[in-house]
């Protein structure tokens, strides 16, 4: 299903709105995710319908336990949907095997986590390079330089995570997530472990990625101030999208 959107484009006649038809890069249809606690089924997602357009930045907000992280994991292919559909760049994740979802993650999705999740044995450079290695195209020095410069990591590349501040670690995690030019960047409360100053730096970087490079971003956050950096804010409650209703 396509979506017709009015977007601002530059034409020979000056700056004027133009109608364009865009296919969503990410789409969920009646998405359910059930967890099992013994014999009891606990629904984390209850029929989520959610679209993200290419180049869009979306913040997902909601109280703890509302299903935000579950949504992120399912649309990122880390968890299997219980019911419904997840389409990423036209690929239906719900119909894929684990191996196929792994392959899709490798090529189309980048993750940034709240706890940075850098590999402690590797330097910053190693943490970024391993993503390139797993991607399969080998080390691309040009792309590496562009990304690390953009994230201001040039001077920290040979440091290990334990030798870096939280802000620096998160910037390395962002670099690792975007080094292979994924179609979608999924961020799970990326500022949750950072102070205000570092949070602003990270959010600004995400905004620049979106505005300058057209990177599609879906971010989960508790922080209402963070939503100011995003095109759209989606609210969740009790496993469903409740757009238009304030989440808190």
């Amino acid at each position: 299903m396509s979506i017709t959107v009015r977007i601002q484009t530059h034409t020979t006649h000056g700056t004027e709105p133009e109608l364009k038809t865009l296919e969503p890069i990410l789409k969920t249809e009646n998405l359910w995710k059930l967890y099992h606690a013994g014999k009891v089924e606990v629904p984390a997602l209850r029929g989520v319908n959610f679209d993200v357009l290419p180049g869009e930045s979306v913040a997902v907000m909601g109280p703890s336990g509302c299903g935000k992280s579950s949504l992120l994991y399912v649309i990122g292919g880390l968890a299997q949907a219980s019911r419904g559909k997840v389409l990423v760049d036209g690929n239906d994740l719900s119909a894929m095997t684990d191996a196929d979802r792994t392959k899709l993650r490798r090529h189309k999705i980048g993750f940034v986590f709240q706890r940075f999740n850098l590999l402690p044995a590797l330097s910053a450079k190693g943490n970024i390079a391993i993503a390139q290695y797993i991607h399969g195209d080998g080390f691309d020095p040009h792309r590496f330089d562009v990304v690390t410069k953009m994230l201001g990591l040039e001077g920290r590349l040979h440091h290990r995570p334990s030798e870096m501040s939280g802000g620096e670690q998160q910037r390395v995690a962002i670099a690792r997530a975007i080094i292979n030019e994924p179609k979608i960047l999924l961020a799970d409360e990326p500022t949750g472990n950072l102070d205000t100053k570092n949070s602003e730096i990270v959010l600004e970087m995400l905004r620049r990625l979106n505005k300058d490079l057209g990177q599609t971003i879906v971010m989960i956050t508790h922080n209402p101030e963070a939503t100011a950096y995003f095109d759209r804010v989606v609210h969740m409650r009790d496993g469903v999208i409740v757009d238009g209703i304030p989440a808190d």
């Binding site: 994991y73 191996a99 792994t102 993650r105 986590f113 044995a121 290695y133």
Partner: protein, 366 residues
């Protein structure tokens, strides 16, 4: 990149890596040393038998090639019958007695005259030949090991012997006493463990063997020159089983240590495995990285094991100069392969477990 990742992971926990390396090193050393000690002793014994200079050895029916533990079941007078055979130049009976007093010793009871006729005599480094009933000859290695010199008293089999000479090593045994005294001491009067036969010419050996086999059809009769090839663990009953048991024990130690090391590694790296999965790492890649890490750990362990083996041999031979540990390239390679296969087997289950981890659970692991 994979090599770099594996190396970094390996050295991220240096203590654990060091323990793993030492465990594998110990396993490799155990295999090399056990095999080296048994084959070293066998080879050394064989060399000494060949060094006697006899052409044929006749043993009692049912006797084993490694005759250290043999008793004295043959009448010594068989020597007379053997001397009468065609092409036989000399025959020397010998009584061998195993002694555990003050170490593992094999005492050779010989008649000096006949033994010299077969072997062309000892090379005396010091002292004189056996004359009195309580005289003992020892070779230079034994003298060094026991700190003995000519004139000293040497107690063996609860009997006080007088060291009358130190001879060059490499002929038969390390301790020689008069056969008659030994026969009395062990209650084997007029008995012998074996007979050494010297032919008039070495090319008559086969003819003499055929004659002896006619005379003593149930006795093992062997050309002495074949002793080196015959003296292997496969020809010694139970020795092969002993070696296999020791190797199995060593492999079990290595396998268990690697299993535990990798299991704790996988537990500790649960979150890292989740991260690798989020980056799109396949199960195969996760297994490969852990098995590569194990293989690298094992290679370091093999190196340490070889080094430890030589160190052990040096210390061991300093303490027990009469024993021998034969370290061969063939067994170094075999011990290495055994360790590698054992380690990879030990690592395979934790690696498989890691590859099957749920990515979401792994990422939320504390």
């Amino acid at each position: 990149m994979m090599r770099h990742f594996v190396m970094r992971n390996l050295f991220h926990r240096p203590m654990r890596t060091a323990i793993g390396v030492l465990a594998i090193g110990f396993e490799v050393m155990l295999v090399i040393v056990i095999v080296g000690l048994t084959s070293g002793m066998l080879q050394e014994t064989a060399k000494r038998i060949e060094g006697i200079g006899a052409d044929i050895m006749v043993q009692a029916p049912g006797a084993q090639i490694f005759f250290t533990m043999s008793g004295a079941p043959m009448p010594a007078k068989i020597a007379e019958r053997l001397r009468e055979l065609k092409y036989v130049q000399a025959v020397a009976p010998a009584l061998l007695q195993f002694s555990m007093s003050g170490g593992v010793e094999t005492i050779w009871g010989i008649d000096p005259a006949t033994f010299h006729a077969v072997s062309n005599g000892f090379v005396f480094l010091e002292g004189r030949d056996l004359q009195g009933p309580d005289d003992v000859l020892i070779d230079d290695w034994q003298a060094k090991a026991k700190h003995l010199k000519v004139g000293d008293t040497y107690e063996l089999l609860n009997h006080k012997w007088k060291v009358v000479a130190i001879v060059e090593h490499g002929k038969a045994g390390r301790i020689f006493v008069p056969i008659t005294t030994l026969q009395e001491l062990v209650g084997a009067r007029d008995k012998a463990t074996l007979f050494l036969v010297k032919c008039t010419r070495p090319d008559h050996t086969d003819d003499v063997i055929a004659e002896v086999k006619q005379l003593l059809p149930t006795s093992p009769v062997r050309p002495v020159k074949e002793f080196m090839t015959l003296m292997t663990s496969t020809n010694i009953p139970a020795l092969e089983t002993f070696i296999h048991s020791m190797i199995a024990l060593a492999v079990s130690i290595g396998l268990l240590v690697i299993f535990l090391t990798l299991y704790t590694t996988v537990l500790e790296r649960t979150r890292d495995i989740g991260v690798l999965k989020s980056l799109g790492a396949s199960k195969l890649l996760i297994i490969r990285s852990l098995l590569s890490e194990t293989a690298l750990l094992c290679l370091l362990g093999i190196g340490a094991g070889v080094g430890l083996s030589y160190l052990f041999r040096a210390v061991f031979l300093k303490l027990f100069p009469t024993l021998s540990i034969l370290i061969t390239p063939g067994w170094i390679v075999r011990a290495g392969l055994i360790a590698l296969v054992g380690a990879l087997l030990g690592a395979s289950y934790p690696a498989w477990l890691a590859s099957r981890k749920d990515a979401v659970q792994a990422l939320s692991y504390d």
